[in-house]
Symmetry: D3
Subunit: 62 residues, 6 copies
């Protein structure tokens, strides 16, 4: 632990993902005092037609 | 909040998804008195070889 | 399928939950043409100190 | 119930998945005394660039 | 990996949970050829008023 | 989006959670260029008898 699941809109580069998992892990180590190697992160790239806010698909939002 | 995650068998059309997120959002607004714009929905399209009931993959079920 | 996971702020009554699962199930049957008995819903009541928007805990938001 | 969500690195064959859902279901029936047909399993195949341990993407790990 | 999330009706004893995680882990090692120590399991005990099948809360089902 | 779900061992203080959601949100804004107010975080406090590594419950690990 901790196990982190991140749903985000697809299209980010692997460099962005590389930086993200590093920074999120550091944020957890720094604030909740867990071991760095214990942090597991799962990223799920979401399509805009599979996310909705207020009843409207993201792909239909201007 | 609320955040809704819907796992469903893949293959639905975008029109079906459009109607689904609208109706599910209205159902929540009507019954738990939340704000429409606060409702977030995530849809995950599942393959039949990645779902199982009673120990049998969906793709193996008649 | 479908399996629906709903995270919402705790405190709703069982009557609200009863109505919610009924209406959400009907919304799915009506829009994605699934069988009513195949719809599974999981509700997770969240504490305000366990949810955050924009980096601020819900319990700290005015 | 129970509902089981399994995140695993992609690339397993359908035979491996077939055996996995069967064995995991038997393990649950045997140990928590649930009905076989009530066990639902969802498998999510993960890409190595979408998983991280200790702040490092799996695809970057030797 | 793999990461396994198990939602089940609350009330099982710790002995049942002990046996379950052992057996589910063995099932994964045996069928998808992963390392035993890599298997992470999360158990979520669910209340009957927070689960529904076919639009009816579990606590309302005979 | 992004929506972040964090499973962690229970017992952290609200101050730790306050700092965690702030830092994790900043990490995401900085690395994947999302809007701060769009970041939603869900925290789930886990009991040691509901987590397992390598087939052994956390509460049984020395």
């Amino acid at each position: 632990m901790p196990i982190v699941q991140i749903e985000m809109i697809g299209g980010r580069t692997i460099e962005q993902k590389r930086a993200m998992v590093k920074e999120v892990t550091e944020a957890l180590v720094k604030t909740i005092n867990c071991k760095r190697e214990s942090v597991k992160i799962i990223i799920r790239d979401m399509e805009k037609h599979n996310i909705a806010d207020g009843g409207v698909l993201k792909c239909d939002q201007s």
